[in-house]
């Protein structure tokens, strides 16, 4: 058992857990934060995306022992921020959501992308979301949602 301290959605937390446990399980089981989903458990689909120090990571591939002192943001935290609200709203407006299972991960990937490229081109959006799989939408509406969020962001 290790004692691990990190910031989770802005609050410092300490857990006692084997350091090898997946961050995804810690979030879902210890903190009841279920926005991050398990789509593959092997780093391929992005459904489990969260932000680690501002960068999108697959939480199914992150041993919780490696996040000592890090800043973790999940969709539960992001949705309270202006940027999170903007992305969620743009997804709703753009028809970016179908079954919704990939969507939380897509929103996190979009947040990470927009932090780096506030006004991305379509190609940059496609590149930025390329680690997140969606089987329903064919991606076009998600790409449009991210671009809409970036435009709305400028107006603020």
């Amino acid at each position: 058992m290790d004692s691990i301290t990190f910031r989770l959605n802005g609050t410092e937390v300490t857990i006692t857990s084997p350091g090898t446990r997946r961050l995804l399980d810690v979030l879902r089981e210890d903190f009841s934060m279920t926005a991050a989903k398990e789509g593959c458990g092997e780093g391929e689909c992005g459904a489990c995306s969260v932000l680690k120090d501002g960068r999108v990571v697959n939480s199914c591939m992150v041993p919780v022992g490696s996040i000592q002192g890090c800043e973790i943001v999940t969709l539960e935290g992001l949705r309270e921020s202006e940027q999170g609200k903007r992305i969620i709203d743009a997804f709703v407006q753009s028809g970016s959501v179908q079954c919704g299972f990939c969507t939380p991960g897509m929103v996190m990937a979009a947040a990470s992308l927009l932090a780096e490229h506030p006004r991305p081109s379509e190609a940059e959006v496609r590149e930025g979301l390329s680690g997140n799989l969606c089987r329903c939408t064919g991606y076009d509406a998600i790409v449009r949602g991210v671009i809409l969020a970036s435009r709305e962001g400028e107006g603020l």
């Binding site: 009841s32 789509g39 028809g95 970016s96 179908q98 969507t103 379509e122």
Partner: protein, 712 residues
């Protein structure tokens, strides 16, 4: 500007899903839950001699055939009694359920499942269509391994072939496809007030009820199925949840605790059902003017080890095998072949994509052989209102394919590009034409499903729709509400529509076959019209609508003759590709589509279905290779079974043409599968043009293109 019901509105489920508030089955904690882990066969065919289960810690159980309640059947009722719940002797495929281990700790369950030792007597197995037809290792089903064997005749093929100047032969093949719904299979089963309650990520709550009840020797009403929010289905959650639910339900009757089974991705990919591989053999008779005068078709599908819905998939395949063409004289044989693979089952399109891919590629091959432009050949044979179908039924509606073609040729720059790209130049254009019949095949809606929809106005004035079709991403929660709201002249968001619970809703049928809007949506409209008259009467009011066959449609299920479908959706997909001369990697430069679905209930939802269906079909046509090695799937993770990402294909151009259907809600017909049917064929033909080689199978991978370029 779009007006009326087609105008897009925000989906009712979008915000909660995008904000991560929506809870799927794995997100909902269950007090006192036992997790379930299926124990499976590790051979494809033979007999189980012994099952050695390790000593189980306190709180763990192994449930198998002997635990089926007295009088319960060890058969899962699908279309008929079908797969066994648990096998303890005959093994028909790799991964068949032997038992289910249940207990409170998932890690421990995996270790225990690995420690179960099973000894077998192994037998030779058939895996491919050819091996199945040859009854390799002895017949698995009957004495010929055929779950279905159909014949169709239209016109006088015999005389056509006797007059033939030349006969062109062709074999078109398609492979397995995995659904890869992003949410893996999952269910929770529990006892409540003496009843068995099943929460399932699923498409067909009433199917699960029908499947589970006989195994428990309980009445249908004793089994309650509540759909959980479903993270994609595409056909993969049509029958497969029956399999898991039956095993888990037996366990619950034994351990009297809730049992939850959630697959991880690898388990899902290895052991869930797949799309039927197909092989379609054509012989086409031409006269001295190179006109098509007859066609002989031999269609086979790999059905796997149990029947499930293979005969119906085969029916849709053969009924689609002339696609949108009126071929004068046709004889067809269709066979669903038993093999020792996981039973193949429903997947978006349900046989139609295989039929259409075969028809489209074969027509393009004929055009290549006779030196004619392939689109001109196809357009010369296109059906129109009044045309006779392959089942000697009639096309009842106006067919707008010619005007759709003018339009899509224009926006895609077809004529200019087609003349600029010489065959074999590395650049290619493909155009696929397709149709999809809405609703169950033949008389299924009328004789088997008998859909009913209820609508209530509660005491407090709130209107609720009660039906059994599920939201699985396709937008039904929004479109059903819109239909009712349009009739009742209210805000769609004010109408209630819960995820179905078999204890509360009438059976409006399964969420399959592009029937939800066309068939059930129509009933929503009719129920709303009835309720409208009573809306201002005091107290609770109720209305109900039941399905009736549109007039003028006739079908004989015995002979498979007549109108296989009351109405069709129509589509064209054009694709432009560039093939790298050295690596044979293909870049898709453009995707243009046009569809006629009667009337869009919500344009954004429709375009979302188009884009999603087309990209899924392009995956099927290009990337998604799923191979069997000794009865096991070689690709079994998302790292080795490749589905499209944001980078594989460009944006999809999508246009709609209206042609209201009098028996659909506000004129709407089916949509969800149509949009899957054509893109793979279009892609294959675009590559065919680019490399000037005959493409006869999908997926068209760079390795296959390399092979074509080397060997011709």
């Amino acid at each position: 500007m779009t007006t009326g019901i087609s105008r897009s509105v925000p989906r009712v489920d979008a915000y909660d899903k995008a904000a991560g508030i929506t809870r799927y089955i794995a997100d909902i904690p269950v007090a006192g839950v036992c997790y379930g882990k299926l124990v499976r066969t590790s051979i494809s065919r033979g007999t189980i001699l012994d099952i050695d289960v390790p000593e189980l810690p306190e709180g763990f159980w192994f449930i198998s055939e002997g635990d089926i309640p007295e009088g319960g059947r060890n058969r899962i009722h699908m279309i008929k009694e079908d797969w066994p719940v648990f096998t303890n002797s005959e093994v028909r495929f790799y991964g068949q359920t032997i038992g289910i281990l249940v207990g409170p700790d998932r890690e421990q369950l995996i270790a225990l499942a690995d420690a179960v030792r099973v000894t077998y007597r192994e037998q030779e197995a058939a895996f491919t269509i050819e091996e199945g037809l040859a009854c390799r290792g002895g017949a698995l089903h009957g004495d010929d391994n055929l779950f279905a064997d159909y014949c169709l005749v239209k016109g006088d093929p015999e005389s056509a072939f006797s007059r033939a100047h030349r006969v062109i032969e062709d074999v078109i093949e398609t492979g397995f496809q995995e659904h890869v719904y992003m949410e893996p299979q999952g269910i929770t089963v529990e006892e409540q007030d003496g009843k068995i309650v099943i929460h399932a990520s699923c498409q067909c709550p009433f199917y699960i009820r029908k499947a589970v009840a006989p195994s428990l020797n309980r009445s249908l009403d004793d089994i309650i199925v509540r759909q959980a929010v479903t993270g994609g289905g595409f056909g993969g959650k049509e029958h497969f949840p029956d399999i898991i639910a039956s095993a888990a339900a037996v366990a619950v009757t034994k351990v009297h605790r809730p049992v939850q089974v959630i697959f991880d991705r690898e388990e899902d990919m290895c052991y869930s059902t797949k799309r039927h591989p197909s092989q379609v053999i054509f012989k086409t008779a031409l006269d001295s003017e190179n006109r098509i005068i007859g066609m002989d078709i031999d269609a086979r599908i790999n059905a796997g080890a149990y029947e499930s819905c293979s005969p119906v998939v085969l029916q849709r395949l053969i009924f689609s095998s002339n696609s949108v063409y009126d071929i004068p004289n046709v004889q067809l044989r269709g066979r669903a072949v038993a093999t020792s693979t996981i039973p193949s089952d429903a997947f978006r399109g349900f046989g139609a994509p295989q039929g259409i891919i075969a028809a489209e590629l074969h027509m393009s091959h004929i055009a290549r052989e006779i030196g004619m432009d392939e689109v001109e050949l196809k357009r010369s044979l296109m059906v129109s209102k009044g045309s006779r179908t392959i089942t000697n039924g009639t096309i009842h509606e106006t067919v707008k394919l010619h005007e759709m073609w003018q339009r899509i040729a224009e926006v895609s720059g077809w004529h200019e590009k087609k003349s600029r790209y010489a065959p074999g130049s590395g650049r290619g254009m493909g155009a696929a034409f397709y149709l999809h019949g809405g609703g169950f095949t033949g008389s299924g809606e009328q004789d088997i499903i008998k859909a009913r929809v209820r609508m209530v106005k509660r005491d407090d004035g709130i209107v609720e729709i009660l039906l059994s079709n599920v939201e699985m991403g396709q937008g039904l929660q929004t479109t059903f509400r819109k239909i009712a709201a349009q009739v009742l002249d209210c805000d769609y968001r004010d109408i209630l529509l819960a995820d179905p619970d078999t204890d509360r809703v009438p059976d409006s049928g399964p969420t399959v076959a592009s029937r939800s809007i066309m068939i059930v949506g129509r009933l929503v409209q009719l129920a709303a019209e009835q309720l409208k008259h009573k809306l201002h009467e005091p107290g609770a009011q109720e209305s109900e609508a039941a399905y009736t066959q549109p007039p003028g449609c006739h079908w004989d299920q015995e002979t498979l003759q007549g109108d296989a479908y009351p109405a069709y959706g129509w589509g064209i997909c054009v694709i432009e590709t560039a093939v790298d001369p050295d690596t044979c990697e293909v870049e898709t430069l453009g995707v243009w589509t046009i569809h006629e679905i009667g009337k869009a209930i919500d344009e954004a939802i429709v375009h979302g279905q188009v884009t999603g269906g087309v990209i899924q079909a392009l995956g099927y046509g290009s990337l998604e290779k799923l191979e069997l090695k000794d009865g096991k799937f070689f690709q079994h993770t998302m790292a080795d079974y490749i589905i499209p990402t944001t980078l594989d294909f460009p944006g999809v151009y999508s246009e709609l043409v209206e042609n209201p259907y009098p028996y659909g809600p506000f004129g709407a017909k089916g949509l969800g599968e149509l949009v899957f049917d054509g893109a793979a064929a279009s892609y294959a033909m675009a590559v065919q043009h680019a490399v000037d080689r005959t493409v006869s199978r999908i997926p068209v991978t760079p390795e296959y293109i390399m092979e074509l370029k080397t060997h011709g």
